[in-house]
Assembly symmetry: C2
Homo-oligomer: 387 residues x 2
């Protein structure tokens, strides 16, 4: 890339289409590409995104210019396409900007370009009981960045993976979690020990069955990834169960739209409290993004507060809640598997609900360790590996 057009980024922007024309209009420059696409760029936008070393600090690649320091009616006095194919703008007042055509195309905001970017976003794959479980080998993940990337993409797009060949020393979970990034701490520790305890501060630390749930729905941001690492599993029972919460939400949308809407609209308070903490979070069970896509499931029956909605809505909400839970119990959605020592589950805690059957603590020892890594860290790691 031409250094004069250095961009405020660590990515590369290959030339997809050449610039063939740049036409000045009243408040914008309209460029035409070799494939005929026309992209308007407002003067404000172009001036704001000037990548020159005066506007962007070259060491951090962060912007120094603040657009509010440029007159609102800033305009070019000269526009051209140079021999290297860059868009060159000389601004009133003399400042010059040079735009790389690959970068410009990647950030064009005409309808066509925006729709194209949306269509190229990663797409998740919904699954049911018959998922071909994505399984990865510990050793490969620890040394091979290609294997690591494949694992992370499976986590992003499928949301459930198993890793085998993990050392069974307590604490060894840390090393593989840190292949992604730092661990997200909680009041249960950096690593938490899933064992039956007399003084349990969560039903997770009993031998009870645990219904399908996400961890820490009691926090504003539920942990993105959850790891569960089996060190010892000599007890009868305790099988792991997983469902794709997004698949269940989509089934509910299809089969009972009114129930789906209630779970998107009416918030529930989740509570996690013991002698030292008192977490509360009010949020709907199903969260949607701006396009109406399901982005998050928040659910743990044992961490709910009493429902608090109007007298009119209460029966509607109970009907919806029952319907959702009933779906999580349908065999078509449930993947059931017992975890053996040296294996771990890693899954999208905000999508893939997990449960465990009751186990018999008198029949043998059972010790799992777990930890969390946030979705930001997963996505950042993927972007760096893909550079």
């Amino acid at each position: 890339m031409n250094t004069a057009a250095a961009v405020a980024d660590f990515r590369r922007y290959p030339l997809v289409q050449a610039l063939t024309a740049a036409t000045p209009l009243a408040d914008r420059v309209q460029v035409t590409w070799a494939d005929g696409r026309v992209s308007p760029f407002h003067h404000q936008w172009l001036r704001d995104n000037c990548p020159c070393p005066q506007c962007v600090y070259s060491v951090t690649r962060e912007q120094v210019l603040e657009i509010v320091d440029v007159p609102e009616d800033v305009g070019p006095c000269e526009i051209s396409i140079d021999d290297a194919g860059h868009l060159c703008v000389v601004w009133q007042g003399g400042h010059q900007s040079l735009f790389d055509p690959g970068w410009l195309r990647a950030h064009a905001y005409d309808d066509h370009s925006r729709a194209e970017r949306l269509a190229n976003k990663p797409r998740r794959q919904l699954w049911q009981h018959d998922l071909k479980l994505p399984v990865f080998e510990y050793q490969a993940l620890m040394v091979d960045t290609d294997a690591l990337l494949q694992w992370l993409l499976a986590l992003r797009d499928i949301g459930l993976t198993q890793v085998r060949g993990v050392p069974t020393e307590p604490g060894s979970l840390k090393q593989i979690a840190q292949r992604i990034s730092f661990i997200r701490e909680s009041n249960f520790g950096v690593l938490f020990n899933v064992q039956s305890k007399a003084d349990a501060d969560s039903n997770a630390y009993t031998a009870f069955n645990l219904p399908l749930h996400s961890d820490l729905p009691t926090r504003e941001l539920q942990p993105g990834l959850q790891f569960l690492h089996c060190l010892v599993n000599d007890a009868d029972g305790g099988e792991s169960i997983f469902v794709d919460g997004f698949a269940i939400a989509e089934a509910l949308r299809q089969e009972d739209c009114e129930a789906f809407d209630a779970l998107c609209q009416i918030p529930v308070e989740f509570r996690n409290k013991d002698r030292h903490s008192d977490y509360r979070c009010l949020a709907p069970i199903i969260a949607l993004d701006a396009l109406g896509q399901v982005t998050e499931i928040r659910m743990a029956n044992f961490l709910r507060g009493p429902f608090d909605t109007s007298v009119e809505q209460m029966p509607r909400f109970y009907r919806a809640y029952r319907r959702f839970i009933a779906l999580t119990r349908e065999p078509r959605f449930r993947l059931v598997q017992r975890l053996e020592p040296g294996q771990l589950w890693c899954f999208d805690n905000r999508r893939t609900l997990h449960a465990r059957n009751a186990f018999d603590p008198n029949s043998g020892a059972r010790h799992f360790q777990g930890c969390y890594v946030d979705r930001d860290e997963l996505l950042s790691r993927i972007l760096v590996l893909q550079r």
Copy 2:
């Protein structure tokens, strides 16, 4: 509290009004209180919230019952108010539930009770340049839980505090942050060092002026609290500047509603990237809660990606963005103060925007340390201290 009516909580629910009557209706029980208020409770809701040791595990105080295991048309065969004033329900099938009247009143969902709870929520205080800065003494915060609670309430409701008398050894920030809870780690570390560095991976680590911003707008959840602890400050310049982002948002709503709406509706991509990480977060600058109240400001001009909205919206968005930034520059909003060694700022990073004037690294040393603690931890700590 009667153990038979033990509730799934660690709070106390004093008796506010006695129960005077309980009337069975088709799908609910309607209770009347001594002050005449009438509260309906649906059968589902009552059965779901049964606090008996069969339905709630007494050690964790977490629910074991799943309401989906109770018939949808469950109803009582007997309702009464016992001598201790509890609501007693004997269900078809024989299960019995006993509800403490203090707890029941605190969770009633008739319109009046819900409005009362809403009105009793903590209220934040908006501020401008003339804020009487809440200042606290380190020693008191470390030993006195009352002083600690006052500090945390100021953080919750005002969002800007100063602490004095803090040791100036590097790392001593940890002790005071941990008076609240564990520290939220980021790619910049558990503690981050704010110093001018040749190989800066953020403009924060230069001697440049930094415009008003929130930290880590590039993460889905911006850190709740930010600490900035002054160890050494011998350099000329570098004054701290704070504005109440909520006050500015409310001023914008008053003065330019269209600009306010644009900042609530049109998302911006914030980016934080270096050789090892690549964080991106798409979210609006102003976030509102379900009642239309401003709950979060997300802003850092130097961490923005190029705006990506439709050609029609782009000029409207630039106008709104310029208007917001112009407001942050108005003296009526800006509190300016130089931090001295042994002092620290602690503020609501999702509300109170902070800036720093440029400093002259040749005029003397300047070393601040910072860290983050999440809002969940602040609120939990307050609730525990208030028990």
